[in-house]
């Protein structure tokens, strides 16, 4: 039996070999958590990556007309399978670079175990953990969303601008909640605000009344909720309103979810506001991108991390074009050149123009749908944080902070 399995495995591998041997395809890996805890987010994210792939091929292909191919692997958004999936991309599919790692734990594990030792560029569209900033990556690992630390700091400014000096904080006990809450607390107190109570909670409980009673008794003007609406956030807001603990809320992107409005109603949220990573003010190119996305896939251009995934894929493609080959070291070195200023600005959907500029030997600077993507020395970007309020049954962005 073991023999049979081994033979099947070998046969599968041999079947895989000729595919990776095709010379004309330029392959990039997409390390996605298709099954697993992030499965809900996946369809639009994958579509965004495919749209970028299609844009490159429609714009004349890559490296002199070759096919740009995205190879998708399922890392299940967990460390062990992500390492395995990344290894298949890097070693079997022989990709030039890897786009992905969705959750931070999976991204860091795959980077440390596979992409860094194999000297492959990795760009995550979604990993927000502060831990990604200081891994020893020899300049191989990048991300194009701001670290959670960044949103915490901006949120502190937004709350103080609103005239709220005394707030209580309820945050979910995972890397997302803890990351934002800690930086928010530090920044808020440094700027003269007072945190009257600071309580973490476990996700997916039925009642948060105990925690809320403690928070309410501290005498805060508003409750800052750093949690996912579907997990604990909506329940916290609802139970606060029902029991009269709080009537004003400040939320982060996790809470900015239509589920919240469905559960508590727009009226109850009239004075509340939300922060969320956002894209810079819409320009013609990003508007065209979103329109194209909705036309191709029906809907979903407003879903989380669609812009970021498109940009991550596009940046990798540009880096390969700039490098002039699929040599991994050259691709890695080219990323900053195509992403960072100075250079002639190109945007989403302008692949043909970018190729022409590169061919002319000009420096380019990709300004994507989700931001300008100027990488700092850690491979992090500053980002844009939007301030949102409830408008009918959805949310409206009223300000952008950089």
């Amino acid at each position: 039996m073991k023999k049979q399995i081994l033979m099947a495995a070998v046969a599968a591998l041999m079947a895989a070999q000729p595919v990776s041997g095709w010379a004309d395809d330029v392959k990039v890996g997409a390390l996605m958590g298709i099954t697993g805890p992030l499965a809900n987010f996946i369809p639009p994210i994958l579509n965004a990556a495919k749209l970028a792939e299609a844009d490159v091929n429609a714009g004349g292909g890559i490296l002199g007309g070759n096919n740009f191919v995205l190879v998708v692997a399922d890392g299940q958004a967990a460390a062990q399978p992500s390492v395995d999936a990344a290894s298949k991309l890097v070693n079997l599919e022989n990709v030039a670079a890897v786009m992905g790692g969705l959750s931070s734990g999976a991204t860091i594990a795959a980077a440390n175990a596979v992409t860094i030792p194999n000297k492959v560029l990795q760009v995550s569209p979604t990993a927000t953990s502060p831990a990604l900033t200081d891994i020893e990556d020899d300049d191989h690992v990048y991300r194009i969303v701001p670290s959670d630390n960044y949103q915490g700091e901006v949120l502190a400014n937004i709350v103080l601008d609103e005239g709220l000096n005394k707030v209580a904080v309820a945050y979910v006990n995972n890397d997302y909640g803890v990351g934002i809450a800690n930086t928010f607390k530090t920044a808020f107190e440094a700027k003269g605000g007072t945190i009257t109570a600071f309580e973490k909670h476990e996700d997916k409980k039925n009642s948060y009344r105990g925690e809320l009673a403690t928070l309410a008794s501290s005498g805060a003007d508003a409750l800052v909720v750093i949690a996912y609406a579907a997990g604990s956030g909506a329940k916290i807001v609802k139970q606060s309103l029902e029991n009269g603990f709080f009537d004003r809320f400040v939320g982060t992107d996790g809470l900015r979810d239509d589920i919240l409005i469905e559960q508590v109603g727009a009226d109850a949220l009239a004075t509340s506001f939300f922060s969320s990573p956002t894209s810079p003010a819409e320009n013609a190119l990003s508007a065209a991108l979103r329109k194209r996305f909705d036309e191709t896939y029906g809907e979903g251009s407003d879903k989380p991390f669609v812009d970021q995934t498109y940009d991550a894929t596009m940046l990798i493609a540009l880096a390969i074009e700039k490098a002039g080959s699929t040599d991994r070291a050259a691709v890695k070195n080219a990323l900053r050149e195509v992403a960072n200023a100075p250079g002639e600005v190109v945007g989403p959907g302008e692949w043909a123009k970018a190729v022409k500029l590169i061919a002319e030997g000009k420096d380019i600077n990709y300004e994507g749908a989700s931001g300008g993507h100027e990488f700092d020395e850690n491979g992090d970007v500053a980002g844009f944080i939007g301030k949102f309020v409830v408008d009918g049954d959805s949310y409206k962005q009223i300000a952008i902070f950089e």
Binding site: A15, V71, V72, A79, S87, S103, I135, V178
Partner: protein
């Protein structure tokens, strides 16, 4: 000399496979030798991983650490810490019958997980511990470090295997099997059933902790996400049952075969059209399930069924 890529795929394959082999051998000590149904493997794995990580990682302002101890000492301490916790649990729980022990151990694994997520001063909570070193990083870099690490992991597998083998053929192993198959009979000939069960539980827990520490060194980062019971407890059980519980070679073979099924099915499903990317991942999960069913149905007692070691004394009876 540049080795082709698929060699490095097999290096990551055998690194992960080796870590699972250690888990599987450890589970075999508890279940295969002793009949103890431990459903909290992820808990011991987590204790080992965090002990190794805290003792060897570079310093951080966020949590206890910065001891910078050598990795071997970290591994030993990971085993000891996990063993001590295993001993405490065994003192309370080994008297429970198999299914009750399973329930208790699930609960304990959850307690351990919550403690890790909440004791931020110690573990940095859900943000995880970063900058965990790998052995001899200053000597081997890049792909060399991968090659060295897989050798390192398999040395630990070999040590675990030798310990397991030695325990199995020893008089202690015979008593364990007697207790497993009929504890009343073993007690009636004067064997201290509780003590033997506690011992086997502790020995198994030690090696589960070592496997955890090796993963932490491999990922160089460890957060509570990586202790997902589906990927640790469930997979280790499937591996042991498929390989053959009670047989050490079976434990190692089961780990590799099941990890191969888990990993290589994706190579097959990747051949499907790209438009199927989402679907093919689920088809792969289906395929994994089918293959597991096939192995478990076709080989009821595992790929390598248990063989009782021969007694050396022929006139024993």
């Amino acid at each position: 000399m540049e080795l082709p890529g698929f060699v490095f795929y097999f290096i990551t394959f055998f690194t992960m496979g080796g870590i699972y082999a250690i888990l599987c051998l450890a589970l075999n000590m508890q279940w295969g030798f002793g009949g103890l149904f431990n459903a909290g493997i992820a808990g011991f794995y987590a204790i080992g991983a965090y002990t190794g990580a805290i003792l060897t990682a570079a310093g951080s302002d966020d949590h206890v650490g910065g001891f910078g101890l050598p990795i071997l000492i970290g591994l030993v301490c990971a085993g000891i810490a996990s063993g001590i916790v295993g001993w405490m649990i065994a003192r309370i729980c080994v008297r429970l019958k198999a299914d009750y022990l399973a329930m208790a151990s699930i609960g304990i694994a959850e307690i351990i997980r919550l403690a890790i997520v909440n004791e931020e001063w110690l573990t940095n909570g859900s943000l995880g511990i970063s900058r965990i070193p790998r052995p001899l990083e200053s000597v081997f870099s890049g792909r060399q470090s991968e090659v060295f690490f897989v050798v390192f992991v398999w040395i630990v597998v070999a040590v675990t295997f030798l310990v397991a083998r030695r325990l199995q053929v020893s008089p202690w192993g015979r008593v364990m099997r007697a207790i497993r198959d009929n504890d009343a009979a073993a007690a009636s000939v004067g064997k201290d059933v509780q003590r033997f069960r506690t011992e086997t539980f502790v020995v198994g827990a030690i090696f589960m902790g070592v496997a955890g520490a090796l993963s932490a060194h491999y990922f160089k980062f460890f957060s509570p996400d990586a202790t997902e019971p589906l990927l640790i407890t469930f997979l280790a059980w499937v591996m042991l049952i498929a390989g053959g519980s009670g047989n050490n070679i079976g434990a190692v073979a089961g780990a590799l075969v099941i990890w191969a099924i888990w990993s290589l099915t994706e190579v097959v499903t990747q051949q499907l059209p790209p438009d199927w990317a989402t679907r093919s991942s689920y088809i792969r999960m289906l395929l994994v399930g089918l293959l597991l069913q096939f192995v478990l149905q076709r080989f009821r007692s595992g790929l390598f069924p248990e063989k009782s070691p021969k007694l050396r004394v022929s006139d024993d009876r």
